[in-house]
């Protein structure tokens, strides 16, 4: 005979919200040590970062990646004569593990040779969107298994760097189409490539026109305004947003300038120093991607873009007459998901009421 089960305790099974304000512990209890524990755990596990570079050939994407991570990520940055420019858009990924001061980073770079190179570039964004969605799909399938792995391998694209050719005028239709579709699915950071062909004034004018174009077409690039959590974030990100898109120059050769060894491009009229803020804005890009916002890029990918994808996938059968709670998880064909639903922008914490005017 089964014994009677007692009912759950009368108070709610979720603990009640705190009634008193946070108490300061007078003598150190040691809660701070949890930060060290976190660090140790993170160093042991290592970090992962997946970046995608998109742009027409010859804009210096591979060189830029090499410069960012100060190593030969791609075996050769100049396309040799043996490898012809691809006829269709291909996606090409390499993964490396780099280590700095005990911190291990597993870096995956995805290149897109052939983007925008054809005569008819219609729907050239489809393979890219398909690839990004495929990574989300892979993560989703791992997440819904019954017996899950301890640590689900994260191959989702955290950041997509889009190279805008330095025409000096404004964004082209191809750029606008691509950015519109992509900014809903992934964090996009547009940069002005080969900025050494523009003077400072031309650069500023180009930048403001691009910013205007982005505003007019409602393209929300990283860092997105709606995810700013507090006033400090907003100040920091506004400064960045003023300078987007960064005008960058890539170089992987070192030259001697004033006795120092710097990365730069040597031309007949001078040496363009990559890491000199007066010459180009490469340091800003590097700081954004690696030194300050890497964790944030990953968080937004995980909490917003991946969740949006998941909602769309789990709701896909809403057209069919099913009951509530129906979840159709058959693997989707890429055709269905290349034009995603409008971005449901969500905040990480409560909205700041002062924001809405």
């Amino acid at each position: 005979m089964e014994p009677l089960r007692r009912p759950l305790s009368p108070c709610s099974s979720r603990p009640s919200s705190p009634r008193s304000p946070p108490c300061e512990t007078s003598v150190s209890v040691g809660i701070e040590a949890v930060l060290d524990q976190l660090k140790i755990k993170a160093m042991k596990m290592g970090f992962e970062f997946n970046i995608m570079v998109v742009g027409q050939s010859g804009l210096g994407k591979s060189t830029m990646v090499n410069t960012l991570f100060k190593s030969k990520v791609w075996k050769s940055s100049l396309p040799g004569l043996a490898t012809p420019t691809p006829q269709t858009l291909q996606l090409h990924s390499v993964t490396h593990v780099i280590e700095e001061k005990g911190v291990k980073l597993k870096l995956t770079v995805t290149d897109t040779p052939g983007f925008g190179d054809q005569i008819n570039n219609d729907k050239c964004w489809d393979p890219i969107l398909g690839y990004i969605n495929e990574q989300y799909e892979r993560y989703l399938q791992e997440e819904i298994l019954i017996t899950r792995q301890r640590h689900i391998p994260d191959t989702r694209v955290h950041c997509c760097v889009y190279f805008v050719p330095p025409t000096g005028h404004c964004l082209r239709p191809l750029d606008i189409e691509f950015l519109q579709r992509l900014c809903r699915t992934v964090n996009v950071v547009p940069v002005i490539a080969r900025a050494d062909s523009l003077t400072i004034e031309e650069r500023e004018a180009f930048r403001s026109r691009i910013q205007e174009d982005l505003r007019n077409h409602c393209i929300d690039v990283y860092p997105q305004k709606c995810f700013d959590e507090d006033i400090n974030d907003r100040i920091l990100n506004s400064k960045i947003r003023e300078r987007i898109p960064f005008a960058v120059v890539g170089a992987d050769r070192e030259h001697l300038v004033n006795g120092r060894c710097v990365l730069g491009r040597k031309t007949k009229w001078g040496i363009v120093e990559v890491e000199n803020m007066a010459h180009c804005e490469f340091p800003l890009l590097r700081d954004l991607l690696i030194r300050s916002h890497l964790q944030d890029l990953k968080d937004i990918t995980h909490n917003v873009h991946y969740e949006n994808y998941r909602v769309v996938r789990l709701n896909e059968s809403h057209l069919l007459p099913r009951g509530p709670g129906w979840v159709n998880l058959a693997p989707a064909s890429t055709q269905q998901l290349t034009t995603p639903a409008p971005l449901k922008v969500r905040r990480r914490v409560q909205e700041d009421p002062k924001d809405e005017f």
Binding site: L8, L35, K41, L68, F69, K70, S71, T95, V103
Partner: protein, 430 residues
């Protein structure tokens, strides 16, 4: 050894190790992670299981150096209840949301068979809440208040002999659901027999297959100290918020006529070790174990209960969709069957009712006929009697008329006689 394993793993996945010729700057990654965690705040949930009056609340107060408002619990609760309270603590820039769950009335009942069940139910309820949130379509896991129990402090009474049966039973039921750290409460009552008691307790736990939480020894920085602490389990603790002057300092202690037991003195009790292990060194690991081991186990059991599997009967991977499809067909079929059944029952009932009504109708009709016939007969009878009567009347009137005629005739014949008679009669009158 670990390095070569890793490099083999990398080779398998076709990943190159790259060397950089300059400073890139991602050593700040752990700091970025820490910053984000500081912004989000931390969350820690402790469950205290032990008899009433064994010193659970005092120990928690002492551990976190704060007087959480708790009044003494009564000993007369009819069954075990769990009371959860959340507090927000802040230390420099770290915010901690601490939830203390106390068992009220544990060990007080006369019949303690069901004592552990409310605890198990509570822990399962927290896992269930998290699982529900995770399975939602529109979910917000990043600002979900995690209420799963990260550690269970099990308070053992300092008898000096061995574990009580209730303790053994409860711990056996809890060890697969939560990280258990056993502590010997009120350790100032046993001092010399402490070591023997500890050994006895640990051997009992091991004999009975109870899996208590082992501090992790895989990370080099803390492996040594954790291993040493593992040897010292269970910790013998004394709790006190009262301050007593010892030497020229005020320390937390319990004052007896024969001496002062100092809480933070390592020679007197293991309180400092407990605090260090619980909070300073392993808080993160406790949370991780709860999520990776206990929660995943619960999730797997729950989903398998609902009928989901990863691998079908022929060992082929089964997707979640197929299971849903199958379940839906099953439920749909059952519903249709039930509908059919109800329809048939309905038809049958209607038929029965119809038959009854028809029967009644027939009966009524028969009665009506019968009455009609009876009525007819009566009428006929009456008719006959009337006719008979009428005949008699006619006959009588005939006789009367003939009699009248006869009387008239006789009157005419002897009219005077009658007059004389009449006269004769009259003088009698006068």
């Amino acid at each position: 050894m670990a390095v070569s394993e890793e490099s083999q793993h990398l080779k398998r996945e076709n990943i190159r190790s790259l060397s950089m010729c300059g400073h890139v700057g991602f050593e700040s990654l752990p700091d970025q992670l820490v910053n984000r965690s500081i912004q989000q705040g931390f969350c820690f949930n402790i469950l205290c299981v032990g008899e009433t009056g064994i010193g659970k609340s005092t120990l928690i107060n002492t551990l976190f150096n704060t007087n959480f408002e708790e009044h003494e619990a009564s000993h007369f609760c009819p069954n075990v209840r769990l009371r959860a309270q959340t507090y927000e603590l802040q230390e420099s820039n770290v915010r901690l949301k601490l939830t203390i769950v106390n068992t009220v009335g544990f060990g007080d009942q006369i019949n303690k068979e069901e004592s552990y069940q409310p605890i198990v139910d509570y822990i399962d309820a927290q896992f269930e809440a998290y699982l529900q949130e995770e399975l939602k379509i529109k979910r917000s896991l990043f600002n979900y208040h995690d209420s799963r129990i990260h550690v269970c402090l099990y308070f053992i009474a300092p008898t000096g002999h061995s574990l009580k049966t209730l303790d053994l039973l409860t711990m056996k039921n809890l060890d697969s659901k939560v990280n258990i750290i056993p502590v010997i409460a009120k350790a100032d009552t046993i001092s010399s027999e402490l070591q023997k008691f500890k050994i006895k307790l640990m051997s009992e736990l091991v004999c009975n297959g109870v899996q208590i939480y082992q501090f992790p020894t895989d990370d080099d920085t803390i492996a040594k100290i954790n291993a040493a602490m593992n040897e010292q389990l269970p910790f013998a603790v004394v709790g006190s918020m009262d301050e007593v002057k010892v030497g020229n300092k005020m320390v937390k202690a319990r004052q007896y006529p024969w001496g002062i037991v100092q809480v933070e003195n390592e020679n007197h009790c293991d309180f400092v070790k407990l605090r260090e292990m619980l909070i300073c060194t392993n808080m993160e690991d406790l949370q991780e174990q709860t999520h990776i081991r206990h929660y995943e186990l619960y999730r797997r059991c729950k989903l398998e209960e609902m009928g989901f599997t990863d691998v079908g009967p022929e060992n082929k991977p089964v997707s979640v969709q197929e299971t849903y499809e199958a379940k839906r067909h099953e439920l749909h079929g059952e519903r249709q069957r039930k509908e059919e059944e109800m329809k048939q029952m309905f038809v049958q009932r209607v038929k029965e009712k119809e038959a009854i009504l028809k029967e009644a109708e027939r009966e009524l009709q028969a009665k009506f006929e019968h009455l009609k016939r009876v009525h007819q007969e009566e009428r006929l009878k009456l008719e006959e009697r009337r006719r008979a009567l009428e005949e008699e009347m006619i006959h009588f009137s005939k006789r009367k008329s003939s009699c009248d005629i006869f009387l008239n005739q006789s009157f005419m014949a002897s009219g005077s006689n009658i007059k004389k008679d009449k006269d004769r009669k009259n003088p009698n009158f006068m």
